[in-house]
Amino acid sequence: MTGALMLEQNLLHHWIERARAGDSSAFERLMLLHEKMVLRTAQRLLLNTEDAKDAAQEVFLKLYKNLGRFRDDGDLAPWLYRMTVNVCFDSKRKVKAAIPIDCAPDSHDAAPDPEKTLRAAEQRRLVFSAIERLPERERAAVVLRDIEGCTTAEAAAILGSSEETVRSQISTARAKIRKFVAERLSKASGGSK
């Protein structure tokens, strides 16, 4: 374990303990550490920032009520992912309308070649509109495995299913996304010729 990671783990442990004892500022620290992860995942799952904010709020309130359950600090992030997926897929919070959320890459990574940038941006837009069309469980598997970078085993643990199921979901989902993007890109390039 690196020094920085050690420090982070120790701090995490410290804040969980303090928050558990009723220190709300320690709880706020825990939120600051994990809020991006929770809101980002909720946005990917719900495709709508306002609903994602509501879901993130619910996730953190549930975290506060369940602080007592964390024996190991390493349990926190998987628990938050699991709770985010559960809250987002709660029957009451069905995707209302696919209001496009910002799926542009970090502006720092912009390539210098404008044509290349434009093509990459179009490809990215198509990938994310394909993700929006996926059924819930497939979308969750892709968001966790391919966007959030969890391993297949981690994604399976978060989703409460087997690795085999997750593998099947991501392979089906990737195939659908590839097909969707390839069809539209070939149509676009055919039209421009």
Partner: protein, 189 residues
């Protein structure tokens, strides 16, 4: 030529297959242009997905944080503070009670309306049993860290009683000042 299924090529792009399948597909891709193009598209897809998207808006994050902090259930914290305050008050009352019963054994001749309970408490003998009885409810119920209230129950034709309520509604201690050996713990169950 048997081509691998598209789903297998999708898993191949992240190595999510057993070693035999990975080797078989690698060998096939060396020979098959069509599958190689498909596999390349899955690689590109992985690159797009792995490129970090813009993080959530700072204003949105702040908004969520504020809403959560405003809605934190503070009841738990407050209730415990309240119960500990009661326990502390009960402890102080116990110390005063002990002090009085040790240092003022003589009954007070005339007592005004308000300090009747205190005077009756003062009349109690300094029996260690009475003190044990007072401490008992705390052990009986781990959720009850102290005493609730002390009240004098005056009845016209019978002797007055000192009623000590604990934070556990099931446990009430009744003391009769004139007969010190008859303290009893009443259960409301």
């Amino acid at each position: 030529m048997i081509h691998p299924r598209e789903e297998q090529l999708a898993l191949y792009s992240t190595g999510d297959l057993d070693p035999d399948a990975l080797e078989r597909i690698a060998a096939h891709l060396d020979e098959c242009l069509r599958c190689r193009e498909c596999a390349d598209q899955f690689y590109q897809l992985q690159q797009v997905l792995a490129t970090p998207a813009a993080e959530p808006d700072a204003k949105d994050l702040q908004n969520v944080r504020r809403r959560v902090m405003e809605n934190l259930p503070r009841g738990v914290e407050r209730r415990w503070r309240f119960e500990w305050a009661i326990a502390l008050a009960a402890l102080i009352a116990l110390v005063i009670f002990l002090n009085r019963s040790l240092h003022s054994p003589a009954p007070l001749p005339v007592v005004p309306a308000q300090p009747v309970a205190a005077a009756l408490l003062a009349q109690l003998p300094s029996s260690p049993i009475a003190i044990k009885e007072l401490a008992m409810p705390r052990r009986a119920s781990p959720r009850a860290p102290g005493l609730g209230s002390i009240a004098l129950v005056a009845r016209p034709d019978r002797e007055p009683l000192i009623k000590i309520a604990t934070t556990d509604p099931k446990i009430v201690i009744l003391l009769t000042p004139s007969s010190p050996n008859e303290e009893r713990t009443e259960s409301n169950e």
